[in-house]
Amino acid sequence: MSKQKYLDNLFEPILVINNKNEIIYYNHFFSTFSGLSPRKIKKIENVSSLLSSIDNKISLDQQIDKVRKDGGVSVSKEGLIKFLESEETFNCVLKVNQVDEDEVLICFNDLSIEKSIYDKYRKQVEELKVSYKQLVLADKLKSIGELSAGISHEISNPLTIASGNTEILEILLETQDDLNSKEDILEAITNIQSSLLRINKITLNMKKFVHEGVKSKQFVSVDKLIQSSVGLVSPSFERLGITLTCEHNSDISAYVDELAIEQVLVNLLKNALDSVENSNNSIKEVKVYTSLDTKNNSFSISIEDTGSGIKEEVVDLIFNPFFTTKELGEGTGMGLSLSSQIIEEHQGEISLVQNSDNGCIFSVVLPSAEISNYLELETRNSNLDDNETSKVLVIDEDYLNLNFYTTLNEQCGGSFLVSRSISKSLQLLESININKVIFGESLFSKDNVNSILAMEDDIEIYVYSETDNISEVDIRGIITLPLNKEDVLEKLEINLGVDDEV
């Protein structure tokens, strides 16, 4: 045994076993590392009983068998182990190699500190991101505070003009009978109207500024949203051996700020992961599924976990900012609060729909893509202006095309209403005034056109250049692909938001 004595100088814990798998040598540091004093190590008859793998990533026996059979070296995956009679866990890598006919050398690379620091780092980075977002929001609020001084100044003039002129109107109507005052009256009324328009523009700009937090929305398939969120968290799930399953439903689409919603889903998935990890329930699983609510024009994404649920006394607090069930320094508790803010900005709702010892179900309900898009159009445009913007309905399944039109709306004041299905389009046509319809290739057919015309027979029909069978239908215009702004506006005879009389 003295031949290995020099190994006592190593910083790495190592063992040597003989062909009966008995420990014939261990260096000084191994004793310190494992917490096993010489007395305890003496009692170990077979190295198999020395340690156990907590996450089944390491099997020392298999490694020893392998090097004995094939020679060479065996390096394990990174895994959690603990030693005989101790509860302390170590995150390590084991390296086993055959020294000679009889002896096998086992080395431990302890990565516990590295892992814990890495985890802390990741958590802190996430917390920093959250803090940054809060800072940006606080900064924005401060700007709004500063802005409001400017705005109250801007609004005060048109307000003064409007109210002054209404007083003048009153006086004119009371005191003057003759027709000469008619001009004065009309002038006062015009002054009032133009002042109100001015005020309206100012508030619309305010709204735009406030909503800049939710960046431009895009049409996206809900499946894709879920896939990308899942992709971000699946390594963590794998590492902890917790199953993550998603149900696919390729038909549902959303009109949302993709990154923001992804953030919400990742937050919910992480919470589910933590809940399952910390629970003693035997099943360790998180499920993600979606459902469509056609009656209410909305859809939902649900995240179900098999954790131990949320305590009754805190259930009402979970969406509060700074509320957290985690230890100091482990979580700021901004996740659910920010998530609910994001969902609110999308006119949706996030809630805890089920809570028990066997787990929770969180559900995110969002308005259908068509409704979201329509709401955005309506709030963006001024309803006081004289300009009449005719609405164009685009019926298309292609996400790229849909997002082309939403971008166009931002640029030229919102004339394009977008839908991914005929049935939804018919719904829209019931209550909204539309005079032009653009059909995407996949949804163009004589029947579909007829059902549209049945709602409103003077609607102008437009198709794309590569669509088949267009001769069967009375087409007003053909839009060339790939889509470009000038061509679309020209073909539809739209002059940057102002319609020509047809």
């Binding site: 100044h153 003039n157 003009i161 109210s163 002054g164 003048i168």
Partner: protein, 134 residues
């Protein structure tokens, strides 16, 4: 109301209204003209025009907007004071919003009162009446 021993015909005042928003100038003029206490209500759209009017005529009251593009109302009054052109003319400052700093400056300049926009005829007349003491 103070009673006077002598009967005097009611004094008529000359007012200069300075505001870059022409429509507000007009409204103030219409309101002032409705009362019989003003012989001349003159309008100016900025400090420069106001100076010209001041050179041509005497005024009892200047109604000036604080926020004007080239020179603010406070600067205008301050200049008048420094060049001794203000004399006994009283000043009413109108503004959409007034900070504490503005109020302090106004007080130092001897500005009699402030009127926050938007205002109605009654409020305008109350303040003007109080300043000119009628």
């Amino acid at each position: 109301m103070k009673s006077k021993t002598k009967m005097v015909s009611k004094a008529k005042y000359n007012v200069l209204v300075v505001d870059d928003e022409e429509k507000i100038c007009k409204i103030i003029k219409i309101f002032l003209d409705m009362s019989s206490r003003f012989s001349n209500v003159v309008l100016a759209k900025d400090a420069l025009e106001a100076m010209m009017k001041l050179n041509n005529q005497d005024f009892d009251l200047i109604i000036v907007d604080k926020s004007m593009p080239n020179r603010t109302g406070l600067d205008f009054i301050s200049n008048l004071k420094k060049s001794f052109k203000l004399g006994k003319i009283k000043v009413l400052l109108i503004s959409g919003c007034l900070t504490k700093e503005d109020a302090l400056v106004a007080m130092k300049l001897g500005i009699k009162d402030i009127l926050i926009k938007p205002f109605n005829r009654q409020r305008l007349m109350e303040k003007v009446g109080a300043i000119l003491k009628f």
